[in-house]
């Protein structure tokens, strides 16, 4: 687009934006506060059947047989599908692009074939005329299992004689390739310089082991979809997901269907946080609909969400930092093993890449092991892999500060990554705001306030890459001059408001004249899913370009009407103006739109881009806690999140991302964990015992926005959604450690663990 620079000058210059940075009411808001908005489970069709899934009660077992005869005899049951109904895929069939996925594994995660690999693994699905009949049919599908010993933890899985989940799986990334099958899927390594030599030059070294448990994204809306397939094999899927194009692509692949035969219509999505970047129900619903010849609705129960949808990995991390007496850190080492769940693909590599990213380190080594266990396959969760790595590194930094008697923020400021710093994964940072979040945190009242007895304060920083990727946008000018902005990016947290704001800024019109919408797969060109903190950045960039395209179109029309050259027309405050002469009165967007028919037909703009230049995000959090020394109960007294957001398009929703991410991280730190029984059955399958923070657990979360504009976006946007969950684990752990005088290295810091730590002193 060529004029990125101009916009940045505007940011630093005197001219204020008219719309960017304001806090208008979101365009989809009224529907959401009145109950009118339709989410995944709210859609119904005439003649619709209800689908349910038969799930394994075992964590690890061979499927000897599945007999659906009795279920099919039950009146009202219309179809049953099992793994046999799915196409066989080649084990080497992997997708490259946004996320590397093995379709072979994904297909087996959607429905088990010869083996079940976790409690809750789908084994069969049934469709019936009512939810009650479908429920009854579940019990009539007879599955014979040969129960195997489950492998529940990374350490068990890595033992020499551990039961093997996938025969033939060899650890990749080690040379020579091992001959024996292993539960270790792969090893990843990132290094800069010579870390062993650097440690020898250090005056002080801190080193510790850290452990965390499996945690779930915990979105309130269970997965849901409706699938219909007509006589011509044309499938339509209504579903709640982070990407309608993702659903289309995966259903096409898993069912060997032609993409053009699948239409996916996105519903409102009731939270995802990465957990809805994959399909579970959609392929089953399509197959059931095909077999039954009727639409099929499938909605998970909370129990199914917890047992069978992607949590994120628990694991182990060892962090080691070497420093000079003056606090200059000279060497960093991180070795981590993450649970991938039942199939390879934990985010351990991303953990390795992010852990030391906030710091300027020339000698660093990060090694990650991806390990399969009999738990549900890990899915993305907000900054996948980064929080656990940050927990280890930021705890070690805190310990270093303690031992060197340096203020923990000062220690971080001394070592902060800046423009030109080489990240542990080899890439040199462009302009970033890591240092700015630290210095801002230093000046807060919070950081400078006194603490009482049994209270502690912790700080931690965090990094997330942010991504760009493919986004499409159409800007359609209606005959009355109002505008529709269509994108292919599901709105998970208010992004339609941001799209409208950016379009309004370019078009120079009032916000209420713009209707932003999330279109289906047949109404806009392909877009990558909503994830990686990419929508406001990448889709926003597409919207800006599409709006500029529409402006150019309108300028051409005005030039035609006035019979002047195109470059004689400029766009100002929502109107075309003639530069050289005042003979021609400015034409508003409505004036031009009204004449569209006379000047060449409908007016629109489009942009289909693969956005580059996503600016990295850094955050620094401060947490105060009080610990009850007799019960180990932790009260979070005060919490401040400081983050470089580039430019806040709609500051309220930026703050919302920061506050929500922080609270998810606090939950991860304090009480959230998967608890498995001895035989590998999940013990806490509901919100009663999977303890996400409730309103009374939390204080207000101070969100402090720092704006270091990203040169890669016309308005300076950086992604904001993910980095807020990176610092909290360590910020809370450091606070608790200071409150009780013992370092906490095992998450969650549930009251029994804290009390045991206090008593062990």
């Amino acid at each position: 687009m060529g004029n990125e620079k101009d916009y940045l000058e505007l940011i630093d210059g005197e001219k204020k934006f008219r719309h960017i940075g304001t806090r208008p009411i979101r365009p989809d808001g009224v529907d959401k506060v009145t109950g009118r908005a339709n989410f995944g489970a709210d859609f119904t069709m005439n003649g619709m059947l209800h689908g349910r899934v038969v799930r394994s009660p075992h964590a690890h077992a061979k499927i000897k047989s599945i007999n659906s005869a009795k279920a099919l005899k039950l009146k009202g049951v219309k179809a049953v599908v099992t793994g046999k109904d799915f196409p066989t895929l080649d084990p080497s069939d992997k997708a490259v692009g946004e996320v590397t996925v093995s379709f072979f594994d994904m297909s087996r995660n959607v429905i088990a074939r010869d083996k079940v690999l976790y409690d809750g693994h789908a084994v069969a699905a049934v469709a019936a005329t009512s939810p009650q009949i479908a429920e009854k049919a579940l019990a009539l599908i007879e599955v014979e299992y040969e129960v195997l010993k489950p492998v529940m933890t990374v350490s068990e899985a890595m033992k020499k004689n551990a039961p093997i989940l996938h025969k033939g799986m060899k650890t990749s990334g080690v040379e020579p390739t091992p001959s024996r099958s292993s539960n270790v899927a792969s090893r990843a390594e990132f290094k800069l310089g010579d870390v062993n030599k650097a440690f020898k030059e250090a005056d002080i070294i801190v080193e510790r082991d850290y452990t965390t448990q499996t945690v779930h994204q915990g979105y309130i809306e269970p997965h849901a979809c409706v699938a219909d397939i007509n006589a011509d094999d044309m499938a339509t899927i209504w579903s709640s997901s982070q990407g309608q194009f993702m659903v289309r692509a995966l259903v096409a692949k898993l069912l060997a269907m032609n993409t053009s035969k699948i239409k996916v219509i996105p519903s409102e999505i009731g939270g995802g946080f990465g957990g809805k970047t994959i399909v579970y129900l959609e392929p089953l619903a399509v197959l059931l609909a095909k077999k039954a010849g009727r639409p099929v609705k499938m909605v998970m129960t909370r129990d199914e969400v917890m047992r069978a949808t992607g949590p994120t990995s628990g694991g182990h991390a060892r962090a080691k930092i070497g420093a000079k007496k003056d606090g200059t850190i000279v060497a960093g080492e991180l070795e981590m093993e993450y649970e991938a769940g039942a199939f390879p693909g934990s985010p351990v590599g991303l953990g390795c890449m992010t852990g030391f990213a906030p710091y300027n380190l020339k000698d660093v080594s990060c090694i990650g092991w991806d390990v399969v266990v009999n738990r549900p396959k890990a899915a993305a969760y907000r900054a996948p892999g980064a929080p656990v790595a940050a927990f280890a590194v930021e705890s070690a930094m805190d310990e270093l500060a303690e031992q060197l008697k340096i203020d923990p923020l000062k220690l971080r400021i001394k070592n902060a990554a800046v423009e030109g710093t080489q990240a542990p994964y080899g890439v040199k940072f462009p302009r970033i705001g890591c240092l700015e979040t630290l210095t801002e945190a230093q000046t807060t009242d919070h950081y400078n306030s006194p603490l009482g007895p049994n209270q502690g304060r912790g700080v931690a920083s965090g990094f997330w890459f942010n991504i760009g990727g493919q986004s499409s946008a159409s800007v359609m000018v209606n005959p009355d001059g109002t505008v529709i902005v269509a994108t292919g990016s599901p709105d998970i947290g208010g992004s339609r408001a941001s799209m409208a704001l950016m379009a309004a800024e370019v078009l120079g019109i009032e916000l209420h004249n713009i209707k932003p919408l999330v279109a289906d797969t047949e109404s806009v060109p392909y877009s990558d899913l909503t994830g990686g903190s990419r929508v406001t950045f990448a889709t926003g960039k597409a919207v800006v370009e599409a709006a500029e395209d529409a402006v150019n179109d309108m300028k051409r029309r005005a030039a035609k009407i006035w019979d002047v050259d195109f470059d004689q027309v400029e766009w100002k405050d929502g109107s075309a103006c003639c530069i050289e002469t005042d003979v021609h009165k400015p034409m508003t967007i409505a004036d031009i739109a009204a004449m569209a028919g006379k000047t060449g037909g409908a007016i629109s703009g489009k942009a289909n881009i693969n956005a580059k230049g996503a600016g990295a995000a850094f955050a620094t959090h401060i947490c105060d806690v009080e610990v009850d020394p007799e019960t180990g109960h932790v009260t979070v007294l005060k919490y401040t999140a400081v983050q470089d957001v580039g430019t806040a398009i709609h500051p309220s929703y930026v703050e919302g991302q920061m506050q929500g991410g922080a609270v998810q991280g606090i939950g991860w730190a304090l009480n959230e964990e998967y608890v498995y029984g001895k035989e590998g059955q999940l013990q806490n399958t509901g919100f009663l015992d999977y303890r996400v923070p409730v309103a009374s657990d939390m204080p207000m979360i101070d969100a402090i926005i720092v704006e270091v504009p990203n040169p890669g976006h016309p308005y300076g946007v950086r992604g904001v959604g993910e980095v807020p969950i990176v610092p909290p684990l360590a910020a809370v752990a450091n606070a608790v450690s200071h409150a009780i005088g013992t370092r906490m290295t095992d998450l969650p810091m549930s009251p029994p663990k804290i009390l045991a730590a206090i008593d062990a002193e």
């Binding site: 506060v33 109950g35 979105y219 939270g271 506050q659 919100f687 009374s696």
Partner: protein, 158 residues
Amino acid sequence: MAKYHVKTTINGDPAEFLCGTEQTVLDCLRDELGLTGSKEGCSSGDCGACSITLDGRLVCACLVLGVETEGKDIETIEGVADGDDLHPIQKHFLQEAALQCGICTPGFIVAAKALLAENPNPTETETRYWLAGNLCRCTGYDKIVTAVMNAAAEMRGE
């Protein structure tokens, strides 16, 4: 098997439906009456997304059987606004950006309305404890609590 014929009042209007014993009032609202504003997040009373009032008392619709509501007065999210006129709580949820994905919003608004009916001037702590049965995973509760307290102030005429 036979279904029960239940007569209730929903958001001020008479409403009748047929339901089986095992159907909750949430099932009845959503599946029998097409009132899908009340959401199902857990079906065990732990998330509050299905909050309604039953004879003025705040309950989880997933923990009430449809057959139990015979003769009762039910209020749902669909009855909170007066036609086009949003309730102050709804307005403040929008103004304060107290929702992100919006799935928990109907439950929060119904619960907050019940709070302000009982306590027009709640403290932050009272607001947080009253709303502890409504889970929100997006916002961290900050802006929700602010919206409810600002709505309360507006309703008190401040």
